[in-house]
Symmetry: C2
Subunit: 270 residues, 2 copies
């Protein structure tokens, strides 16, 4: 199944929340820590609990890589454990010269079998092309990110009066000949999101920043009111998966996910 | 030993070439392929041969990650095999929101024990800070890269008349309060290098693009003539490590490394 079809069918089924597996051994419920592979157990428990309600899973490579090859093994086993019909985003923010990006694409798509990836556009088209050549995948390219540092370069004004991130959105639309591109737009940047919905057009949008980073769901959805719902993925990581440290943590995660998703649906209807 | 001291002592000893271990199973001598871990054997043979002549080693994470956890294990064992006094650069081009970058920094510096890293500045200061907090390490931040896509965004002109990559160089100088920053500047961009030597100031410069990417050593060194030599690292990967596919490959690699380094010294003297 094509990555874009997975996203569309999730949105069709009124699912909009992407569950971010930023799994940190320091933050998972302590009762799990006696197991031999606590982070994998945690991930499996979350996946089992939310697989019917999650629009997608986003796996943050950094959290696994920091434990070396044992972590990479857990990353791989986590991905294998996710049901085939759910979109899996490898949150890797890659981008390098062509022959190196080809290796990263091989890693994310062929080896780890992610459906989608996050990419850093800084080095330009040829740094992304090896990923874009995978027709059935989805490439979420950073446009304007949720962090404060976004003002350092992403929000620099160019000599034609537009901002760098707007130039990126324009380029991503040009590069989207295979209909396998999307953008990442910070849920903390609602004014800019609203202003740029026309430029974004029909590109799928991955929105991180809700929850711990204090993005506001109501604000985010207000930009989407007149738009088609089939291009929206709101990522929630820490504030969702670490909702409870108790034995009932899966229950709390599911309740929170259902609540967030219902809120999105309600906001679409108002 | 601090990363910067390793670079300085290499430059003091007239060593300027960084050996890029972009090790690709498809490209190593075929007689090695019968071994159980051919890429590790290849790396060890290269390291044994050039450790007296290399200014540094640059390990390209993509080439290891693409083989999953087995590859990550080889990455780790390769780093462990490099003598302690030689600078090891983790070529990872990382950059993400703060809590994720903290995990990447932990990975590159604490887990894999690299002395230095390459970083992508797109997301701004807070995306790099977790790396910059490691005082004894070196952070080579992308300014203007060697690929053609550099014109897409890095060479966009800002409304103050400077280019984005120049803004980055200015910022990196501001962020260099711990004297642990450097920049990456493509060896294929010699006019821009020459124009920006004053802006770069005393930042260490990692220059990829010599060899397969056709950067010209003479052109590169001409920018450095009046500058101090203690900030220069010229990376050569494919055109060096795959110099020969025969049983004598280590000999050929050493000859080429010695030749390149002598050429740099000669160019400094003319």
């Amino acid at each position: 199944m094509k990555a874009l079809e997975k996203l569309t069918s999730a949105n069709d089924a009124n699912k909009f929340i992407c569950v971010g597996l930023d799994t940190d051994i320091e933050k998972i419920p302590s009762f799990l820590k006696s197991s031999s592979r606590p982070t994998l157990d945690f991930n499996k428990a979350i996946i089992d609990t939310v697989e019917k309600n999650a629009a997608a899973f986003k796996i943050n490579f950094a959290f696994y890589e920091s434990a070396g090859y044992d972590g990479i093994k857990i990353l791989s086993e986590t991905i294998d454990y996710i049901p085939d019909d759910i979109l899996i985003i490898g949150d890797a923010k890659r981008g390098d010269i062509g022959n190196t990006s080809k290796m990263y694409a091989k890693s994310v798509f062929d080896h780890f079998k992610c459906d989608a990836v996050t990419l850093n556009p800084f080095m330009g088209y040829d740094s992304l092309e090896p990923f874009l050549l995978y027709e059935d995948k989805l490439n979420f390219i950073l446009a304007l990110t949720s962090n404060t540092g976004a003002s350092d370069f992403e929000k620099q004004k160019l000599d034609n009066g537009t901002y760098l991130y707007q130039k990126i959105i324009q380029k991503v639309n040009e590069w989207n000949t295979r209909k396998n591109c999307g953008i990442v737009f910070g849920a903390t940047k609602n004014d800019e999101l609203k202003e740029n919905m026309n430029n974004i057009g029909s590109l799928p949008i991955l929105l991180p920043g809700i929850g711990t980073q204090s993005g506001n769901l109501k604000e985010v959805i207000s930009s989407f009111k007149t738009m088609h719902r089939k291009q929206l993925l709101i990522n929630v990581s820490r504030s969702l998966i670490y909702k409870s440290g108790g034995k009932d943590f899966t229950l709390k995660v599911k309740e929170e996910l259902v609540r967030l998703n219902s809120e999105v649906i309600k906001l679409f209807e108002t």
